[in-house]
Amino acid sequence: MSLLDWLGFEFVRNALLAMALLAAFYPLLGVYVVGQRVAYFGDAVAHSAFVGAALAAILGWQMGSVLLITAPLFALLIAWFQQRTNLPTDVLLVVAITSVSAAGIALVSLLETPLSLSALLFGDLLAIDRSDLWRLLGVDCIGVAMLLLLSRPLIRIGFHRELAQAQGVPVRAVETLFLVGLALVVAVGIRAVGILPISALLVLPAATARTLSHSFRGMLFASAGIGWLCLIVGFGLALWQPIPPGAAVALVATMLFILTAGVAPLRKEHGW
């Protein structure tokens, strides 16, 4: 079957559009996620999809819509705990991931109609419908607006949090807004990519770009390019072999990261 034949199917066209919407924004956001050192936070928010999916099934609502409510609420809850306890962030996030996964799986087990945990974990790109695409487009637009607004303060906070605070950057407000935005972006991508590979799609292109770039602008461009490459190759791999597209994309992103990380010492030595 040729690519043109595949394009005759609506589910393939939807999948390609979803892929394009993911590739257009996730790797760019990833640059700021890596800069703010909140990669693990995105992972915690992704795991809250267990609870969101169970709630959606109980209420009989669309999962995508429910996640857009539960994920930002969960993000705000973590941020609230972070500000009010002395617990190290990594400990807090492990507690959050464990508790939300356990609660979600318990709820899912009690459902009369079982949910596909595999689709939740690795996504179901080929099951994307138009409402999912609109949600993706909407959140992409919100995300771009957020980055245009917060880019400078985020660079300043990423460079030196206290200096930014002393210079009048409303650090807590910027960080909270960014985390809520990140939660929305993660939530909207879960159906396509899945809980497990979503952080890979966010973080790996940016992490790879970081080893290749010499400027922040360069890192944005490199991350965007790597993100596109991973999605195209990963999607092709998923069409060729029976691998979930989310897992295939994450695999390609991981291989690229390992390759560039391995080459990095040589680049440094030879000044490439």
């Binding site: 880019s151 002393a166 400027s215």
Partner: protein, 241 residues
């Protein structure tokens, strides 16, 4: 003269221990006040309180006429702050020009404006360098340049010249001297460099959790309390240009 910073009977407790107790000082327009004291005396804490970064339990603090918690972003733009030995993420690819644009905003988006900012600390050559590749002294020069670029009224500097070459260090303090005399800028500067203190400070305040002494550099540097504080006799070596 207008008081830019007023600290009255300040008490700060951190982790159940009083780091500062009953400390009072002020910085007026056109003054260079050097804050002296051994390591752990509470100097950095005092600066962080003035910036509203940590709360205080006793006394009163007024910065540009307001309590630190009430400072607006516009007020903060009138305060130049340089923290002690910057620790930052050295894996992030970021050019000096990108950092300065993020710090200084639209007014400094043009390359010529950024070069002018760096010229003040003799660091134009750093504009296109990666921040992560700068030495400690070079990075300190960039941060100092950014602090001075917005023509602040009050400077709060925590060992600002650490790691900077002697020649550039004197150039930096000459620049503060110029701003002090021409624009009435007030500065509170933490420094262990007594030659700098004796050369540039108009007043010295010495603390060790409490206020120990205050006066002109000539008066304070000869006080017996200085010898007690630093554990050995104090002598001042004068840097030459």
């Amino acid at each position: 003269m207008v008081n830019l910073l007023e600290v009255f009977e300040l008490g700060v407790s951190l982790g159940g221990r009083w780091v500062l107790e009953g400390v009072s000082l002020s910085v007026s327009e056109g003054e260079f006040v050097a804050l002296l004291g051994p390591n752990g005396a509470g100097k950095t804490t005092l600066l962080r309180v003035a910036l509203g970064l940590i709360p205080y339990q006793r006394g009163e603090v007024r910065v540009l006429g307001k309590p630190p918690a009430k400072l607006t972003p516009a007020d903060r733009a009138r305060i130049g702050y340089v923290p002690q030995a910057l620790q930052f993420d050295r894996t992030m690819p970021l050019l000096v020009s990108e950092l300065l644009r993020a710090m200084l905003g639209e007014m400094f988006s043009r390359r010529t404006a950024l070069l002018h900012v760096l010229q003040a600390v003799d660091a134009e050559h750093l504009l296109d360098r990666e921040v992560r590749a700068l030495s400690g002294g070079e990075l300190q020069r960039v941060v100092v340049a950014a602090a001075l670029a917005l023509e602040p009224h009050l400077l709060l500097l925590d060992e600002p010249a650490t790691g900077i070459d002697v020649g550039v260090r004197l150039q930096f303090y000459d620049l503060i001297e110029e701003q002090r005399k021409q624009r009435g800028v007030g500065a509170l500067v933490v420094s262990h460099d007594l030659s700098i203190v004796s050369r540039y400070a108009t007043r010295v305040v010495c603390i060790h959790h409490r206020l120990l002494c205050t006066g002109t550099p000539q008066e304070v540097l000869q006080m017996p309390v200085m010898e007690e504080l630093y554990g050995h006799p104090i002598s001042v070596y004068h840097h030459e240009h």
